[in-house]
Subunit: 435 residues, 2 copies
C-alpha cells in the first residue's frame, strides 16, 4: 500500500484561503494558437461545406472516407447497435432512459398569461427549438449515459430534430453510444468531431443541417469552437473537469465515502474530489480507507494523480463552516452525507446537484436517478444550472393591449420615449391614445 | 418630400430568398485587433485592479480622476437624481417600474420536488445569484428604460447585490439613468465602461466586487469582453441591432404602421424595420405614409439610412406565407397587426416579443407594458428568450435516495458504469445495495 498523496487542509490554518483558492483555480485557457486553428477550421467549413468536413475528418481522425455518406449513420445502424447489446446492458440503459425522461417531464416550463382589468393580456409563450445538436466526444470519454442526458431533455422539450455528432478516431465506433442514441430519440448521427463538427452544426453544410443550439462536452478545440459560434447558435456551458465535494458528519462508512471520492477522481487527472468534515477522527478514517482502497481501483493511476494534484481533505470547525465552504466552492456535485440533509438544504446556495444523505451515491445520479448529469463545473454553479428541458425551449413575450389599455399606457410611454429623445417611439404610442 | 428609399420585395420574385438572406445577414464581428485590445485590457485589470481602472477610464473616457472614489456614485446621488426629475418623468418612471415588477413577479420559477414510492425524493431547488452586474452604455445609447428592464428582474429574482456600471465620457452623467437605478433597486454604481468595466465585474478589484453574471448591451469592445469572460461569469446574449417585423392584414391605419416601423428605424443606422402584407394596396399605402411622415421625424437622417440599408416592404401571397416569414426571420419584435392575432399565436415559433393587435404599439412594450424589452436579436429568438427573472436564478438538482431507492438503483448504475469502464462509480453504487 502506497501512502495517500492528498492535500490536508484545516480552516484554522493561516494560509487556508490561499491554499483553497489555489486548489480551486481552473481556467480552460485556449491559447492564441488554438484560437487561430479553430477559426481557420470554422472558416473552411463555412466556405467549402461537406468537402471541408471530409478532408478535416480524414486528417484529424485518421480516416480515408470520400464522401459524407461515409460520415453518416442511419437510424437502422443505431437500432442495430441497441439490439446487439447484452440483455443486461439493454435493460439498464432502458431503465435509466425512462427515469431520466420521467424526471425531465416534471421540469417543463409552461406558457402563461394573465388579463388585466382593462382587457390587456400579458404573458409568455414557451416553444421548443426547431433543431438541437449534441456533441458526443469519441475515444476515452465516450459515455452512453451522456447521450441520454443530452438528448432526452431535448426530446421532452419537443425539439423537432435532434442531430448528434461523434468523432470516430481511427474509425472506431462505440456501440453503447449508438445504442443510447437510438433509445434517446436522436434523429440523425454524423461521425464528425472537433471544431469542424461544431462549425457544421452552427452554419450547416450541404449534408449537415444548421441547428439552433449545440450542447455537450468536448476537448479544448470543441470548447473554443463553441465559444466562437456562440450567438450564431446557442450553446450550453463550457465544461471544465468534473468535481465532487463530500461533506460528512462522521456517521457514514469511511469506505463508502472513499469510493464516492474515487468515483470522481477516476474520471481524469484534472478531476477534483474534496472531502470536508468537522470530525478529525472521521477525516483520518476516510484518509485511511482511501489509502487502503486506492490500489484496488482499475483506474488507480488516474485517481491517484487527480487526488495528488487537485484533491483535498479539509478539516473545518463546525457545520456552519462546512456550509460556508459549500457555498464558496459551488461544486458540480455536492454530497451531503449527514444525518438530516433536509435541514442543510435551505443554506446551500450554490451547487450543481445535491446528493442527500448517506445512501445517495453520486454515481446513482450519474446514471439513473433521473436528474441530469450535465452540471455546472468550476464554480459556475454560482450562476448556471443543470442541463434541462428549459435549455431546449425559449420564450416569447406576449403583449396584447386592449384599446383602453393602449390608451392608458400611451402617455407614460410617450413621456419616457421623449426623455430618451426617441420621438417616433413617442408618436407611435400617442396614435393609440383615445382623444 | 424626398422619395422613400426602401427595398420592395415580393415572395414571388425568383431572387426573393437570396435578397431576404442578404437583408437579414448580420455578424457583429470583432476583428483580431479588437480581440487583442480587449484581452490586453482584461489582463491589465486582473493584474492591477483599481489602478488599471483609473488609468483606463482617464484614457478612454477622457477623465482626470485619481482614485476609485471618483468613479463611485453613492445611493444618495442616485436618489438626488430621482428627486430632481420633473414630476411627470418621475411618475412615468415609477409607473413603468411598477408594471415591469408586477409582470416579472409572475415569471418566477419555483423549486419543486416529488417523492417516489420507495421514499426517494427528486427535484430542483431554485436560488438567486448572489450578485449581478448591469452594464449600461453611456453617451447616445443611454436609456433609463434599460436600467429598469435589467435591474428589476434581478431584484425580483432575489439577487442580493446589484452592481451597475455606466461610463461617463467626458464626465457627463445622465440623470434619468441614475434616477432609474434608484428606482430599480441598484445597490452600487461605478462610472466605468468598456472592456475594463466588464473585466472588473468578472474578476473583481479592490473596490469593484466580482459578480456572478453580467447583463446589458454595449459596443463591440463590451461585447467582445463579455464573450471573453463567459465561463468566469455568466453573461446574457450578445445583442445585435434592434429589429421589428410588422405583419398587417390591411386593416390598420397606414400612418400607425409607418410610425411603428420608424420607432425601430430611429434607433440607429443598423436597426431593421420590415413590413409584411399580402395586401398590395395596403403595402403601397404604408409606403406612401412612410414617405410622407419620414421628413417629420426628429431622427429622420438615422431612420432614413436604416430603412435604405436594412429595411424592407415585403409582399407575400397569403397569411400562410406571412407565418413562414415570421418564423424564418425570428424577429426581436413581431407586431401582429391583424384582426385576430390570437389565431396566429400557435403558429409563431420564433419571436422575442409578440405585439398583438392593432393597438399594441411596440413602443408600449419598450417602456411600460410590463414584459422585458431586452430581447433576442438577429434571429437568435430561434434559441433564446427575453431577459427575465430566470436569468438571475439558477437551479440545483436534488437527489435524496432512500435506503430502498439506492438499493434498487444500484444494479442499474453498476451495469452502466462498468459499461463505461468507470469501476469506482460502480463500486460506490454497489456499496448501497442491500444484501
Amino acid at each position: 500500500m502506497t501512502a495517500l498523496d492528498i492535500a490536508r487542509l484545516s480552516t484554522r490554518d493561516s494560509d487556508f484561503t490561499a491554499r483553497l483558492d489555489g486548489l480551486l483555480a481552473w481556467e480552460g485557457v485556449s491559447d492564441a494558437e488554438v484560437q487561430h486553428r479553430v477559426e481557420t477550421i470554422i472558416a473552411e467549413v463555412r466556405a467549402r461545406g461537406d468537402a471541408a468536413l471530409v478532408e478535416l475528418s480524414n486528417r484529424f481522425d485518421r480516416l480515408s472516407v470520400s464522401g459524407m455518406d461515409e460520415l453518416t449513420l442511419t437510424p437502422e445502424r443505431l437500432r442495430q447497435a441497441f439490439d446487439g447489446l447484452p440483455e443486461a446492458q439493454r435493460e439498464a440503459l432502458r431503465l435509466a432512459a425512462e427515469r431520466v425522461r420521467v424526471y425531465h417531464e416534471r421540469q417543463k416550463p409552461e406558457s402563461w398569461q394573465y388579463t388585466e382589468a382593462d382587457g390587456s393580456v400579458l404573458g409568455q409563450q414557451v416553444t421548443p427549438l426547431d433543431r438541437a445538436g449534441i456533441y458526443v466526444p469519441g475515444g476515452k470519454a465516450a459515455y452512453p449515459s451522456s447521450v441520454l442526458m443530452n438528448a432526452i431533455p431535448a426530446h421532452v422539450a419537443g425539439v423537432k430534430e435532434i442531430i448528434m455528432v461523434v468523432p470516430t478516431p481511427d474509425g472506431v465506433l462505440n456501440e453503447l453510444v449508438l445504442a443510447a442514441a437510438h433509445l434517446a430519440g436522436v434523429d440523425r448521427v454524423f461521425t464528425l468531431g472537433g471544431a469542424q463538427a461544431v462549425a457544421a452544426l452552427a452554419y450547416g453544410t450541404e449534408t449537415v443541417p444548421r441547428v439552433d443550439k449545440i450542447v455537450g462536452p468536448g476537448n479544448i478545440y470543441v470548447a473554443t469552437a463553441k465559444r466562437a459560434v456562440f450567438g450564431q447558435v446557442g450553446i450550453d456551458m463550457i465544461a471544465g473537469p468534473s468535481e465532487i465535494l463530500v461533506v460528512s458528519d462522521g456517521g457514514t462508512d469511511p469506505e463508502w465515502l472513499a469510493m464516492d471520492l474515487f468515483s470522481q477522481a477516476e474520471h481524469d487527472e484534472d478531476a477534483q474530489a474534496i472531502f470536508v468534515s468537522w470530525d478529525a477522527e472521521h477525516l483520518d478514517a476516510v484518509a485511511e480507507a482511501m489509502a487502503r482502497l486506492l490500489p484496488t481501483l482499475e483506474r488507480e493511476a488516474i485517481a491517484r494523480q487527480s487526488l495528488a494534484e487537485r484533491g483535498a481533505l479539509i478539516h473545518c470547525r463546525d457545520e456552519a463552516e462546512a456550509v460556508e465552504l459549500i457555498n464558496r466552492i459551488a461544486a458540480e456535485h455536492l454530497e451531503l452525507s449527514v444525518a438530516d440533509p433536509e435541514a442543510w438544504l435551505p443554506r446551500v446556495r450554490h451547487a450543481g446537484a445535491i446528493f442527500m444523505g448517506r445512501h445517495t451515491a453520486e454515481a446513482l445520479g450519474d446514471y439513473c436517478a433521473g436528474p441530469n448529469h450535465v452540471l455546472p463545473t468550476s464554480g459556475t454553479a454560482r450562476f448556471s444550472s443543470p442541463l434541462g428541458v428549459y435549455d431546449f425551449q425559449k420564450r416569447s413575450s406576449i403583449i396584447h393591449c386592449s384599446e383602453a389599455g393602449a390608451s392608458s399606457l400611451g402617455p407614460t410611454a410617450s413621456i419616457l420615449a421623449r426623455g430618451e429623445s426617441l420621438t417616433a417611439h413617442a408618436r407611435s404610442a400617442e396614435y393609440r391614445i383615445k382623444s
